[in-house]
Structures are given as structure tokens and as C-alpha cells.
């Protein structure tokens, strides 16, 4: 097949899948392809990603392609530049396939909190169930595409591994700072990480290898060595030490899901991995509250810039006051969950409450980071279920209160708060739905996750 035929097949496949499952807010056109091909730097035939198509979460800027972070308030916004991760993908010959559906600004765990005029992505295994969130479109597209495809997702509190687990694909959330955030529309600056979802660990490792590294455009970017992650796929794991997080197998975690993960643990044992039970009492009890306070506080400041000026949704401002105009645009174009998080975040930062909520949470975050660090003195990685349940049905989600919704993140907020890399590996099915096993490693030890993760993929 010629390259042109390959591209046509990929674009047609994306259109076809989207009609049935709603994984894209925007699908690349032939004009977009021409634009990319016209840039010599982006036309490598021998790059690490030559021949690959990459779908990109809507919150990550792609030059010239409408990028809305899944929210109506950014409709019409066409970035003037590529996010660093997207630039690196293009430089390695990868072709951007489109912008994927998500909870608006990343606010959700099921991708049902989409923007007011956006579609909800459906689970690739059962259309009556959610994809997970917030990178739901990324994980769904990863599952359904037959072409050579990897997705560029983003996580704040679990938004890569949650949908990957619910859709039965691999997801890697790297260490905070490992991948540049330049060009990402922030949810919470101290928590956001860009990472891949793929069908196989090898492809996820490949994309991570391409997008990792220091970037002077991101002041929080880490200047740490980037290993050749793909060389860790399939490396023997004998003698490695893995701790089972005791609290992640307790109340609230579905017993069949536990069993699926226990099967993966048994597989590691058979390969000579030393397994012992460990405990994260502070993280398990306080992690969720700490996460939501910090994330909402940061989000409420980040979203202040969306006010109907310069880009996105706008209206004629003649005859209306400054504040009334901002209020009107925000009220009419932000969805309910965005408003809820802005309200709580604004409240928690207000005079008189800041120390009790924001500063207190930031202090407990220190204790949580220390709790993990102590375990990594002994263990190479920690293991637990990625999500406590299989992907819920849409009617079940409708019955949940916002707090019950947030509690779904109970297992993923810990590593996200501590900025630790983590991976989810598809595990045994429960009720014909996939489950995921999560491995967590110390900062900048993504190679260990790839080594351990690849040793347990597709064993069943």
C-alpha cells in the first residue's frame, strides 16, 4: 500500500469508528496532512514513529487544528503552535490523526462530563458503558483502531490509566516533569502529565521515548536522563521486588476485579519476582481529599483565563460591562462539572479558608510523597488494581452524586499526587469487560514499569 493509501485508510477508519463510538472532536483532513507534509522537519520517513498515526487528546495543542479541551468555551480555537510533545511526534514521522473526546478540561473519570455541544465516547467493549476518563476518546480509539495507532493522552488524577483500564488497553502516566507540558491546556499545573495509551506496552514505550526529555519552554520540565524505554520490553524480571498495596484490595474494590489482579501477581511470582504486602495508610485515607482540594484550587485559577476574549467563544461586547461580559460567556459555555469545580476551588482559596484547605492539603501531600518514597527504598514497584470496578453503565453513573463520582479515583490519585510514574496492563475480563493491573514506580523509573508491565501482558 502506498503512503497516500495508508493515510486515506487511516482517516476513513477514524471517521467510521467515530460515527459509532464518538472518539473524536476533530478528525484530521487531507488539508491538515498537506500542511504537515509541507514542513520538512515533520516529514521524516525514517523517524521512530514513521508509519504511525497518533490521536491526540483535545486538551493538547495541535497547530491549526481546532483544540477545545472538550469544552464549548474554546470552540473555534486553532492553536498557533504545536505542543512540544506533538512537535516531537511530528519530527519522528508520526501523523496526527485528530483530537479525541474527553471530559471538559479533564474534569471527570467517565468522559460523561463532555462540553455542552460534544458527544460522550462509548466503551469499545459495550456501548452501554463508559470509556472512563478523562482521556476516554484516547483509550477507546486505541482499542478500536486497526491501523498502526498510538494515542497521546493526559492525566491529572488518573486520566490515562482509568480509561485505559476500562477499555482494555495499556496506559503509561510518566513521572511529573518527564514530558513537557508546553502546549497543554492546564487542568492543575502541579499534577498534569502527558503520556501514551497503546494496544501493547512496546508501542506505549515507543511514544514515551519520543516525547520524554527536558524542554526549556516548560519551567517544571525535568532535566533527567531519558532511557531507551523500548529496550526494556521483555527484559527478565527475576529478582525484582514488588509490593502489593494492602489497602487497594480492601472494601469497595470488586472481588472479581481483585481476583483478576491477583492472577497477574501470580504470574509475576512465577517469573521470579519477590512479592510482599505493603501498606500506604496515609495515602489511602487522605489521598482523595488532598487531591481534590489541590486540583480544584489549581483548576479554578487556570480557568479564569477563559473569558470570551482573544480566542474561543466570543460575542459582541458592545454596551456590556467588563464583568458582565465575562460572566455571560462563562455561564453560557462552561458545563456543570466545570462550574462545580470552579466554585469549590474558588471557595477553598478564598480569604479565611486557604490555610484550612489548600495549605493543609499541600502539607499532607508532602507526607504522602514521603510514604511512597519510604517504600521505594525496598521495592522496585508497587501493584494494585487500576480501578476498583469495571466500566460502569451510563445509567449507574447518572445515579452517582459528584462525591461518589470522585471516589472512583481512590486508587489512582496517590501516584498522581506524588508525581510517580504508573502503568496499567489489561487483565482478566469480568462480565466480559476488561480490568487493569496498575504498577507504580519511583520517580523517573518508567523503565521498570515497562519491564514489569511487558512481562505480564497477554498472559491470559
Amino acid at each position: 500500500m502506498t503512503e497516500k493509501q495508508n493515510i486515506k485508510q487511516a482517516l476513513d477508519e477514524a471517521q467510521q469508528i467515530n460515527k459509532e463510538y464518538n472518539y473524536y472532536n476533530y478528525i484530521t483532513t487531507q488539508e491538515d496532512i498537506k500542511l504537515q507534509e509541507s514542513n520538512k522537519l515533520y516529514n521524516s520517513k525514517e523517524g521512530k514513529l514513521s508509519g504511525y498515526f497518533i490521536s491526540v487528546k483535545d486538551a493538547i495543542n495541535v497547530k491549526g487544528m481546532e483544540s477545545t479541551a472538550g469544552s464549548k468555551i474554546l470552540n473555534g480555537y486553532k492553536p498557533l503552535f504545536d505542543a512540544t510533545a506533538v512537535k516531537q511526534i511530528k519530527e519522528q514521522g508520526g501523523i496526527v490523526l485528530g483530537k479525541t473526546t474527553q471530559d471538559a478540561f479533564g474534569f471527570g473519570g467517565f468522559s460523561v462530563n463532555v462540553g455542552l455541544d460534544k458527544e460522550i465516547p462509548l466503551n469499545p467493549n459495550n456501548k452501554g458503558r463508559a470509556c472512563g476518563g478523562s482521556s476516554g476518546g484516547c483509550a477507546g480509539a486505541t482499542s478500536k483502531h486497526k491501523i498502526k495507532h498510538i494515542s497521546l493522552a493526559e492525566s491529572t488524577g488518573g486520566s490515562i490509566v482509568c480509561p485505559a483500564s476500562f477499555c482494555g488497553v495499556v496506559g503509561i502516566c510518566p513521572t511529573y516533569g518527564r514530558v513537557s507540558r508546553y502546549g497543554l491546556m492546564d487542568y492543575a499545573n502541579s499534577l498534569d502529565k502527558i503520556g501514551p495509551t497503546a494496544k501493547k506496552v512496546k508501542d506505549a514505550a515507543l511514544l514515551l521515548e519520543v516525547i520524554s526529555g527536558y524542554d526549556e519552554n516548560d519551567s517544571t520540565s525535568a532535566n533527567e536522563e531519558v532511557k531507551e524505554f523500548t529496550t526494556y520490553v521483555g527484559k527478565p524480571v527475576k529478582g525484582m521486588k514488588v509490593g502489593i498495596i494492602k489497602e487497594a484490595f480492601g472494601e469497595g474494590v470488586n472481588s472479581e476485579v481483585k481476583k483478576a489482579i491477583e492472577n497477574k501477581i501470580a504470574e509475576l511470582k512465577e517469573q521470579g519476582v519477590e512479592i510482599k504486602e505493603v501498606s500506604l495508610p496515609l495515602t489511602s485515607k487522605y489521598g482523595l481529599s488532598v487531591y481534590y482540594i489541590l486540583a480544584m484550587c489549581e483548576a479554578s485559577t487556570n480557568l479564569a483565563k477563559y473569558c470570551g476574549m482573544r480566542y474561543g467563544k466570543q460575542e459582541d461586547p458592545t454596551g456590556i460591562s467588563f464583568n458582565d461580559y465575562f460572566t455571560k460567556i462563562r455561564t453560557e459555555n462552561l458545563n456543570e462539572e466545570s462550574k462545580r469545580r470552579i466554585m469549590i476551588g474558588t471557595f477553598a482559596r478564598m480569604s479565611g479558608f486557604r490555610d484550612a484547605y489548600y495549605i493543609k492539603a499541600a502539607k499532607i501531600r508532602t507526607l504522602i510523597i514521603n510514604e511512597y518514597k519510604e517504600l521505594f527504598k525496598t521495592y522496585d514497584a508497587l501493584i494494585c488494581p487500576t480501578m476498583p470496578v469495571i466500566a460502569p453503565k451510563f445509567e449507574e453513573i447518572k445515579k452517582m452524586t459528584p462525591l461518589e463520582n470522585y471516589m472512583m479515583d481512590i486508587l489512582t490519585v496517590g501516584p498522581n499526587l506524588a508525581g510517580l510514574p504508573h502503568i496499567t496492563i489489561p487483565s482478566d475480563e469480568v462480565d466480559n469487560m476488561p480490568t487493569g493491573t496498575m504498577l507504580i514506580a519511583d520517580h523517573f523509573n518508567e523503565d521498570i514499569l515497562i519491564q514489569l508491565g511487558s512481562s505480564i501482558e497477554n498472559m491470559y
Binding site: S219, K339, F347, A356, L367, T401
Partner: protein, 94 residues
């Protein structure tokens, strides 16, 4: 924590949002439930603990002070229809 209509209206004003009575009625129990769940943090002794505003140590890195081409005025105005000459057009501020 008492969460009432007045508090939510005040917060909404600060956040440049206008909530309908129906929205406020729905938000009151939800926000109360969420804020109450945060109270659990008061159990933790955080005396002498420094807050973590980032999960990894961040170092200041300064780049070479070399002038670069900024984005052009034409590009900066590409994403808006509300413009006049070389300026963004916005609501009246004073």
C-alpha cells in the same frame, strides 16, 4: 460547614459565574457533601511539615538571553473576530 445560597452566590460572583436558583439548589447539598468530606484532613498532624506545591524538586533554569521573534500581530489576532486595527476588541472597562 454551612453551605447556603448566600455563600454560593458570593463565590459565583468571585468566579464570574451566574448560577440559576435551580443550579444553586442542586449545588448546595453537593458542595456541602464534598466540603464535609475534606474535613477528614484536620485529623492529620502537619506541624513543621512543609507544603509540596510540586511533586518533584523544581530547579530554576534560565535560558540564554537571546532575543527571539515574537508571534506576529496578524497571528495573534487570528483566533478572534473581535478586533480593531492591531488590537483585540473587548468590553468597556471604565
Amino acid at each position: 460547614m454551612e453551605v447556603n445560597k448566600e455563600l454560593l452566590q458570593n463565590v459565583a460572583k468571585v468566579a464570574r459565574l451566574k448560577l440559576t436558583n435551580k443550579e444553586i439548589d442542586a449545588f448546595i447539598p453537593q458542595v456541602k457533601e464534598i466540603l464535609d468530606s475534606f474535613q477528614i484532613l484536620s485529623e492529620v498532624n502537619t506541624d513543621n511539615i512543609k507544603p509540596s506545591f510540586q511533586p518533584i524538586p523544581i530547579k530554576n533554569r534560565l535560558r540564554e538571553d537571546i532575543p527571539r521573534e515574537p508571534i506576529s500581530i496578524e497571528d495573534a489576532l487570528k483566533n478572534t473576530s473581535l478586533k480593531q486595527d492591531t488590537y483585540f476588541k473587548g468590553p468597556k472597562a471604565v
